[in-house]
Amino acid sequence: MLRCKDVARQADDYLDQRLSWRQRLGVGLHLLICVHCRRYLAQLRLLIAGLRARRAPASDEEVRRVIQRLEEPDRD
């Protein structure tokens, strides 16, 4: 039986579906009986999605700065 520490180590690969079916089964069985690891997996998934949700286009200020410096006369 896997330990919680092993499941935590394999969690990213589990979410990415990179584990062998045997490994996936091991994790799956552990998750059935371990509320802590279930919570860890679910919240790790949430965290990754939360990080992705922070993606944003550049601000007006950032765009303005880039364009402005493009239009400066050549320094050379």
């Binding site: 330990r3 919680c4 520490k5 092993d6 935590a8 180590r9 990213d12 690969d13 802590h36 690891c37 919570r39 860890y40 919240q43 790790l44 949430l46 965290l47 990754i48 999605a49 939360g50 990080l51 992705r52 949700a53 922070r54 993606r55 944003a56 286009p57 550049a58 950032e62 765009v63 880039v66 364009i67 410096r69 493009l70």
Partner: protein
């Protein structure tokens, strides 16, 4: 995927090649932060801005000759990577002094007891959606701090993959490490952020 749902690459390219400045601003708005993340990963924080500005200048000058054989995104990424690597070659003081990112201990090591069970299990987070999880100014500050403290390669892997959605193969190229190494970096970076959020959810503090 571009952040804008109405992105029309063919249309934009036509306008870019006609010298439409507004179209170039659109390009900058869409990709600037991704390119910054890539530059930081290669040359570090202090000159990343300069490198990206040089890359935009190169792109601006070369857009008329761009044949569209790759996507605009790929083309821009190539320009930034080349620019960053050129700078790196010329500025030896920038050469990474990072100790191996793999010497780092597992960030959650201390949360397990000697039998491998949780000694400090995660608390239940309250957030109705992923979008809600990391909003809030205080947590955003905490996150910035955690990112700044992370080994550079871990930060790079996390920002490139989880924030900017860069493909793993491209990250391998940018960081010049194997895919399995990128996965380890990601794993460790995520665990650090997990620890942060878990602590914040429990205590309201960083």
């Amino acid at each position: 995927m571009p952040t804008r749902p109405d992105w029309n690459e063919a249309e934009l390219l036509k306008r870019l090649q006609a010298g439409d400045k507004q179209a170039f601003a659109t390009l900058v708005r869409e990709y600037h932060r991704k390119l910054l993340a890539m530059a930081r990963a290669i040359v570090g924080e202090s000159i990343a801005d300069e490198v990206v500005q040089e890359a935009w200048l190169s792109a601006y000058k070369a857009i008329g000759r761009f044949e569209g054989r790759s996507s605009l995104k790929t083309w821009l990424m190539r320009i930034v990577i080349n620019e960053a690597r050129t700078r790196l070659r010329h500025e030896s003081r920038l050469i990474s002094l990072d100790t191996s990112p793999f010497d780092d201990v597992e960030p959650m090591e201390s949360r397990f007891d000697e039998t491998g069970h949780w000694a400090q299990a995660p608390v239940t987070w309250s957030a109705d959606s992923p979008e809600e999880l990391l909003t809030g100014e205080q947590l955003a500050d905490c996150l910035e701090h955690t990112l700044a403290q992370m080994p550079r390669m871990q930060r790079a892997a996390l920002t490139l993959r989880d924030m900017e959605g860069v493909e793993l193969a491209e990250i391998c190229n940018i960081l010049t490490v194997s895919e399995s190494n990128v996965r380890v970096l990601l794993h460790r970076a995520r665990q650090r952020v997990f620890n942060l959020v878990d602590h914040y959810q429990e205590t309201g503090e960083c």
